[in-house]
Symmetry: C2
Subunit: 377 residues, 2 copies
């Protein structure tokens, strides 16, 4: 199978990730932070190591990383942790349902109001679009680091600067960004950065994280046992315990640590340049096919994650994907859980076929995909 | 090491669980329910199989099982999914912080009020205690299946009957019950049953579940992409998608399936009787030691999970546990995240030392523990 759906989850997982996760299940299936025996203490230390690696990725203090089961949970915790009654929120026109659905849920309850700023290939226009929406009660901007459908990268640092200037909290959805682009808290000025562990960080499915800036106070949406301050019926107010109730996914987290090692060893920029070369090559070939509709400029000419969306003939995106699946090519079709992005690009009726390579995708895979598509023509 | 902390997480995990989880990571690291290609469809089918096995355990329809990252998340989803402004809640005096902290959080916000019913070794007294607390606005009873500190089993079926009679919703915290005691929705009349996958079900850490009765409508605390109804900004209203936003822990869930297979093959009752024999033996030996304080009747004489709490001399529970840890015995000390239970048994100042065997615990382990404790005397 030629797997081009790495934005959903990277596959295969690196050997060191598979082996480390497996080893962790044998060696570290103990409750961390709850037992005084050596194995529990060792498990806590091992998890702390991964916390440190994750924190280093985005430039926050180790204790300010809370592990979650996925990016969606992290985003819900961050968004609902910041917002209060009467707040106004600004989100981008490229957001995933992991952002829009919690925001919409709060709006439907009458707790918040929100506006959507339009995406543009011009950074200055994006910033102007955001500025135009800022109100006295604007409390939060939420923005994806890069669109999971069209790849478009957002000017995160500039938006972070704008948010800070206006004393507005800033959450970055890094689902498609972590392990793909460098990002540091001091440059991006985010209050919270959320991401998945199983995409660009090559960890196991079932792990995500929320990294917060120092001294940020967030409300909780989940409370429970933390192994700390147990006599208190109130949730602890310190990180990371405040956001890690119940048993952690030890082997998944330790596997994520191996994923981060893998990415650091290869180098984020090397991985990116490998993947963007493939996307670039595919784009160039696709643009010469008259049956193919493309939606963005060439990757060479704009800031983009290694993600490409297209449609074929007048087929639904699902039909094209099924025809490719029949030839053992795995791509994703439809809305990719991001209806706003499709509205922005006027593809909400058909959806798109999405191509997303990983570091394991080769030129030969790209050629096989292109030849197969040409034969379908 | 002699591991007697299986109520935290069972250890070791069965070989078939370790191997299946490892295999799943290689074979099923694909996004289920989102792709049209064979590998994604196969992954969905595999996860559905585990959904079915989990549903069978507790007697609900397969689609009414939602997978979560742990029992705490499931309990938060259930409790906050049922309760609305002005509701009154009744919880037991043996609840874990996974129940008390979310309830307390709602109470602190002024959304609900709650009362705690006292535990008794006499079922009829428990039922009377609950009845005395029922108010016109009582909307929910939450009760643990068995205390994670003292083992005391609750008369779940009788409480379920009482709840149904009074049209009160009923949530069971099955963290210490799943895989230990038989429970079916039709007998227990629960609205929601929450449990962990990594304790009595012998699955990997990082998986829990929420099983709901048919046609129960619950509010959500987490919204996001579900791969379904993606154009709608509102969370889908059908199970399990409504409660499974974002990427699932595929290998963990599939590993849980292997854990359930393991339990079914051994037989829940056989596992229980193995474990309770060990607890019984330890109890009998401990009660003859003048330096040991026990807190419950003999396991032979009351309904109990295979869990036992004690204290040694006038030592803090932590000190005893550390002395045992020094001799390679792993037990848990302190409050076990369940302060209410300690208040009920007047152990909130010292906590207790907890012994919890698994199917892998042997008579030799019990003897080693007892001999070690005797030498400490």
């Amino acid at each position: 199978m030629i797997y081009l759906d790495n934005s959903a989850t990277t596959n295969p997982k690196p050997i060191n990730v598979i082996n480390t996760t497996n080893f962790a299940m044998k060696k570290f299936s103990f409750n961390s932070g709850r037992g005084g025996y050596k194995e529990s203490v060792d498990t806590s230390a091992k998890i702390y190591e991964v916390r440190e690696k994750t924190a280093n990725l985005v430039g926050v203090e180790s204790q300010n990383v809370a592990f979650t089961s996925n990016c969606t949970l992290a985003l819900n915790m961050a968004i609902k942790g910041i917002l209060n009654y009467g707040d106004h929120v600004i989100i981008s026109g490229l957001e995933h349902n992991a952002v829009t659905r919690p925001i919409e849920a709060l709006a439907l309850k009458g707790i918040i109001t929100y506006d959507i700023f339009q995406y543009s290939y011009d950074k200055e226009v994006i910033l102007k679009n955001i500025k135009n929406l800022i109100k006295p009660n604007t409390r939060l901007i939420v923005c994806t680091q890069a669109s999971n459908v069209f790849g478009c990268k957002m000017p995160i640092e500039e938006i972070g600067h704008l948010a800070k200037e206006n004393e507005i909290a800033f959450i970055v959805d890094g689902a498609q960004g972590a392990g793909v682009f460098e990002i540091k808290q001091k440059d991006a000025n985010f209050d919270v950065y959320c991401s998945a562990g199983h995409k660009g960080l090559y960890g196991p499915m079932g792990v995500g994280f929320m990294a917060v800036k120092d001294n940020l106070k967030l409300n909780t949406i989940i409370e429970g046992g933390t192994g700390s301050s147990s006599l208190k019926l109130e949730q602890p107010d310190f990180m990371p315990d405040r956001f890690e109730s119940g048993t952690l996914n030890n082997s998944g987290i330790i596997g994520l640590g191996a994923g981060i090692d893998f990415v650091n060893k290869k180098g984020i920029n090397n991985i990116y340049s490998h993947e963007i070369d493939i996307i670039d090559y595919i784009y160039d070939e696709l643009k010469d096919l008259k049956n193919v509709t493309l939606y963005t400029p060439s990757p060479r000419n704009f800031d983009t994650a290694p993600i490409l969306s297209f449609n074929f003939k007048d087929y639904s995106s699902e039909k094209t994907a099924l025809m490719l699946a029949d030839k053992s090519i795995a791509v994703r079709a439809g809305l990719h859980c991001a209806p706003l992005a499709h509205v922005s690009f006027k593809t909400e009726n058909r959806g798109t076929v999405r191509i997303s390579p990983s570091v394991f995708t080769t030129q030969k895979h790209a050629e096989y995909f292109l030849n197969t598509l040409k034969k379908l023509a």
